[in-house]
């Protein structure tokens, strides 16, 4: 029996939410098509057995099992982009140690890797590149494994029954990814090793703490091109997939990258000076704090998320969250392809804020000095406000409040689903509504001109600086727009 289009739509909508956070590559489209076909067959059966039409699709999807998990597993299998190796600008140093041992150090200019005696010790690699490195082991199965080179210090700890995992580092490059067993695995790599540098694992009352060892007095860490010279470390931590507790990461001066950690109860990351890159996380809550470093969050499914940076930029994309608060003082905020069930707040003081294809219950974008630019925002309540900057927003849907003190506002809506309030002191307002929609209006300008589409308009008040009335039949919502010195165009 054929499943009608309405049901196909219902199924497609649910799958949309899950697959939106992943790239639309052939592998993901295939998985989605396969699941979709099976869901249609299941829905069809349910209807045939008497389940009401509006419940059949929902039940079939619930019966299916963890679809998001399948997509996440595919994402993990897909791993990272592989890059062609260009060895033409590699630097090779023959380093002779006291005592005569000679080590050949090769610095790969293109691939950001350093090898010592042929063994790769990656520096400055992203979490995705770590996944590629891991796959160079020819016996690797599809699970992510830790890099193949030999760390100077290896620690293991069984996490069953543990509720919290604290990772405490100081001046290090931290990489977190799923481990390959039931134990926590910590692999520490050092540019030069001294036993007192080795980290340790401590356990107390359900909390496992991994703490860094002694660090030498901060030596100048020189970065030449993409390379760090001087004392450097890389800490790779494999978190077992069975760990479902709270993860807390502290790293004072160094980057943190976490990839594909799922089923966490909470994740809390604190970095003073360093970037935080998170991809494919699934956790009940997420809090990230950096003073001086960018925060990137992508492809994740989370509950309430709080990202705060003083100087860094925030990039949040392709994720499904229950709540989002993203705050930066000096940095820019960029939010793309997000689905938020609750409230999303993007707040920057000096930076620009940009949002594209975001769906939320309530969405608030605010900048003090920067510009706001938005495309395709859907929410029950949309608020965009800036003090010194301008607002450019297209394809909005929802009750909207727009405020620009000194700047201009240029906005368009795809549908009118709530009241619109737009105000500016010194800037001009240009509001574009769908031609055929009906609305009440109240337009006011002190010194500027008023221009509007007057087809089907009835005025209740019409003076040079103030117009009130309604357009069309039975208008449900009201557009209130006012500017002091600027022009107003609807």
């Amino acid at each position: 029996m054929a499943v009608n289009n309405e049901l196909k739509q219902a199924i497609a909508q649910q799958l949309d939410t899950i697959f939106a956070v992943y790239p639309a590559t052939a592998a993901f489209m295939d998985l989605r098509a396969e699941i979709s076909g099976d869901l249609e067959a299941a829905t069809s059966d349910k209807i045939a057995s008497g389940v009401p039409t509006d419940e059949a699709a929902t039940q079939a999807i619930a019966d299916f099992g963890d679809i998001a998990g399948l997509a996440a597993q595919l994402a993990a299998d897909q791993g990272a982009v592989t890059r062609a190796k260009d060895t033409s600008t590699d630097v090779t140093i023959d380093n002779t140690q006291p005592g005569g041992a000679t080590h050949t150090i090769n610095v790969g200019a293109d691939t950001d890797t350093i090898t010592i005696d042929g063994k790769i010790i990656g520096v400055d690699i992203t979490a995705a590149e770590a996944a590629t490195l891991a796959k160079q082991d020819t016996n690797a199965d599809t699970d992510l494994q830790l890099p193949a080179s030999t760390p100077q210090n290896e620690l293991h700890c069984n996490l069953s029954g543990m509720t919290e995992l604290h990772i405490d580092y100081d001046y290090d490059e931290l990489h977190l990814m799923p481990g390959s067993g039931n134990d926590l695995e910590v692999h520490e790599y050092f540019s030069n090793f001294n036993p007192e540098y080795a980290g340790q694992i401590m356990q107390n009352a359900g909390v496992v703490t991994v703490r860094h060892g002694v660090r030498p007095k901060p030596t100048p860490r020189i970065t030449i091109g993409k390379f760090k010279l001087g004392f450097w470390t890389k800490i790779v931590i494999g978190v077992p997939e069975t760990f479902t507790g709270k993860l807390q990461v502290t790293n004072r001066n160094g980057n943190v990258a976490a990839l594909n950690l799922r089923d966490l109860a909470a994740a809390d990351i604190n970095v003073h000076e360093g970037s935080v890159q998170l991809a494919y996380l699934a956790s009940k809550t997420l809090t990230v704090n950096t003073d001086d470093g960018n925060i990137t969050l992508q492809g994740s499914q989370l509950g309430p998320v709080q990202l705060t940076s003083r100087d860094g930029n925030l990039l949040i994309e392709q994720s499904a969250l229950s709540e989002l608060t993203a705050r930066s003082e000096d940095g820019n905020i960029s939010a793309n392809n997000l689905s938020i069930t609750g409230t999303a707040k993007l707040n920057t003081r000096d930076g620009n804020a940009e949002a594209t294809t975001v769906r939320a219950h309530a969405l608030q974008v605010e900048s003090k000095d920067g510009n706001l630019s938005a495309t395709s925002l859907t929410a029950d309540q949309l608020t965009l406000s800036t003090a010194d900057g301008s607002i450019k927003a297209d394809q909005l849907a929802g009750a909207t409040t727009l405020r620009a003190d000194d700047g201009s506002i240029h906005a368009s809506w795809t549908a009118l689903t709530g009241d619109i309030t737009a105000s500016s002191h010194d800037g001009s307002l240009h509001l574009d509504l769908p031609r055929t929609v009906s609305y009440n209006f109240d337009l006011h300008t002190d010194d500027g001109s008023l221009r509007q589409d007057e087809t089907n308009v009835q005025f209740t008040k019409h003076s040079t600086h103030h117009r009130q009335g309604y357009k069309g039949q039975n208008p449900e919502f009201t557009i209130t727009a006012s500017t002091n010195d600027g022009n107003l165009t609807i």
Binding site: A2, V3, D30, A33, E34, I35, S36, G37, D38, L39, E40, A41, A42, D45, D63, F64, G65, D66, I67, G69, L70, Q73, T142
Partner: protein, 112 residues
């Protein structure tokens, strides 16, 4: 009264089960879950997401192959068929099961 079949009890045999079902005809995910349920007399229902991971594993081992069929309603549906290597694997799985069955019977019901 017999206790229920738990997922733990069946986990080690999912390869054998899926190969058995596919050896009796090419099929697709949802249909395979129905067949498994029917074969078990209703005692065991496999979670379809779990079945997908089994398909992936069996395909990687070369025991089944997936292909896209044309659906009359326009969408495409993914089918799986057992391969020659898969038929051989099924034989191996059946022998292993025979051994397990006999050994466990003796261990649980046998007298010293």
């Amino acid at each position: 009264m017999a206790t229920a079949i738990t997922k733990d009890m069946v986990r080690g045999y999912l390869t054998a089960i899926v190969l058995n079902v596919l050896s009796q005809g090419t099929s697709y995910g949802y249909q395979v879950t129905k067949d498994i349920n029917a074969l078990s007399g209703g005692a065991y229902t496999i979670n379809e997401a779990t079945l997908y991971t089994v398909f992936k594993r069996l395909e990687k081992s070369g025991w089944i192959e997936g292909y896209w069929g044309d659906e009359s309603q326009g969408g495409r549906r993914k089918y799986y068929r057992i391969t020659a290597a898969g038929k051989q694997q099924l034989q191996t799985e059946r022998s292993t099961w025979q051994l397990a069955k006999t050994t466990l019977e003796a261990l649980i019901n046998g007298s010293k």
